[in-house]
């Protein structure tokens, strides 16, 4: 499609809606004069940039990080079999699986519950810290990272669902019962908070240079 304006080779010198005194509707892509408050086509509230974006990102990020601590310290599952009670944490459960000859599932759990959450914390922090810096050449990379973080976030819920499935299924009176441990709640809160943190991130700021971004001209 046709870009408005000229693209200077190798830089992000693209004309933006904001740079032209226009505000973009993020739902339906229409642009309106900067002072417009509600999109006349789809009724979405218009904001050129979400000024509170970074505050929301950091607040939810912190919630996610804090909740991730008890999620790893407390047991995810409490298994009771005949005479023996066993509590397993996220990492402990994965190690058990590994020892019982299910390395692939152990890997899935480790990726979904450790690698992805920790990676997301780091990625969101990196993106939030670098917003507004004049790293123009890396904008495309940072945007790709953001899209990946947004896409992958929901998949961390897998471990919470596994706990739910096991605790509803393994209810065999005295033979064996599985109960959800307190870590399941902490982990779910951590995943949900991190998802909201990523959603609060206004990705258009990745492309802005200078912070706050250039003010519109009348």
């Amino acid at each position: 499609m046709q870009l408005v304006g000229m693209e200077r080779a190798g830089t992000a010198s693209v004309l933006t809606a904001r740079g032209s005194g226009l505000v973009t509707c993020r739902q339906c892509t229409r642009v309106w004069p900067m002072a417009t408050e509600i999109c006349g086509r789809c009724g979405t509230k218009l904001r050129s940039r979400d000024d509170l974006s970074m505050q929301k990102v950091w607040a939810w990020w912190l919630t996610g990080v804090i909740a991730y601590v008890p999620a790893n310290l407390y047991p995810m599952l409490e298994t009771r079999a005949l005479f023996d009670t066993q509590d397993s944490t996220i990492v402990g459960g994965a190690v058990d699986l590994l020892l019982h000859g299910a390395p692939v599932v152990a890997l899935v759990i480790l990726i979904a519950s450790v690698l992805i959450p920790v990676g997301k914390f780091l990625a969101i922090a990196y993106l939030a810290v670098t917003v507004g810096r004049r790293a123009q050449t890396r904008n495309a990379d940072r945007h790709k990272l953001f899209e990946f973080v947004e896409f992958i976030g929901r998949w961390s819920m897998i471990d919470v669902f596994v706990v739910a499935i096991l605790s509803s299924l393994v209810q065999l009176s005295s033979l064996a019962t599985i109960k959800p441990g307190p870590a399941s709640l902490a982990f779910a809160i951590s995943v949900i908070a991190t998802m909201i943190s990523a959603q609060s991130f206004d990705s258009r700021m990745i492309w802005d240079t200078g912070f706050p971004p250039k003010a519109p001209q009348a």
Binding site: V4, T16, C42, F161, V162, L169
Partner: protein, 221 residues
């Protein structure tokens, strides 16, 4: 330093004569484009950030509606049928989605029970109802439903919170975890949910929200 601001320079003049109605911008990076008409079978990609802005398709509306109906039937049926069953030394148990969601209701984890019901049953169902509400009038050339715009906006906002497909993978992981401990078998609801995953993925590929907004804008009589 002076070079840093976006688009100081000749191209600002390009815009002088273009009215906002004839422009559109990328929702993810704000790059400004000349507006295009929704041509079927084209892919509109932002040149700067490569975000897929639109993917209009001919006759996608009808397919999306049928898939939404199929999803509704499957979710409702799969909610009450068992999806996994287990037996050890003659003791048996099976679990349905609703059992699973309520597994957290004991032991003070009520919030988690609520969240699980919402993420795997309520939100997917609600999304499909909203999509049907918005699309059925459009596809059958009727005037848009009342508050169709709010309904469609809500269906988009709910998208990341609709987690049925993640639940299916969770089933498979749970199965492997206890396969040593007991005899485990997939019940009918598991296969229904697996079908659901394929349907939801297909539907997502077909449903182009940009085209829906265009359609909702046309005043139809």
């Amino acid at each position: 330093m002076g070079d840093g601001l976006l688009m100081d320079g000749p191209s600002e003049k390009v815009l002088v004569d273009v009215a906002p109605e004839n422009l559109m911008a990328c929702s993810e990076c704000d790059a400004l484009y000349q507006a295009v008409a929704p041509e079927p079978e084209t892919l509109i990609v932002c040149e700067r950030c490569h975000h897929v802005i639109a993917r209009p398709r001919r006759k996608a509306g009808m397919t999306v509606i049928s898939l939404a109906f199929a999803t509704l039937v499957l979710v409702v049926a799969a909610t009450f049928l068992p999806f996994l069953s287990i037996s050890v030394a003659g003791v048996e148990n099976s679990a349905s989605l609703i059992d699973t969601a309520l597994a957290f209701s004991e032991g003070g984890l009520a919030f988690l029970a609520l969240a699980t019901v919402a993420l795997i049953i309520l939100i997917p169902t609600l999304r499909m109802l909203l999509i049907l509400y918005v699309l059925v009038p459009i596809v059958f050339d009727r005037p848009p439903a009342r508050r169709a715009k709010s309904a469609f906006r809500m269906s988009i906002a709910l998208k990341p919170w609709s987690m049925a497909e993640i639940f299916v993978i969770g089933c498979a992981v749970a199965l492997v975890k206890i396969v040593d401990l007991a005899d485990v078998a997939f019940g009918p609801a598991f296969w229904m949910f697996s079908a659901l995953v394929i349907i939801v993925t297909l539907q997502e590929r077909l449903l182009c929200s940009w085209s829906v907004w265009n359609a909702l804008e046309q005043p139809q009589s």
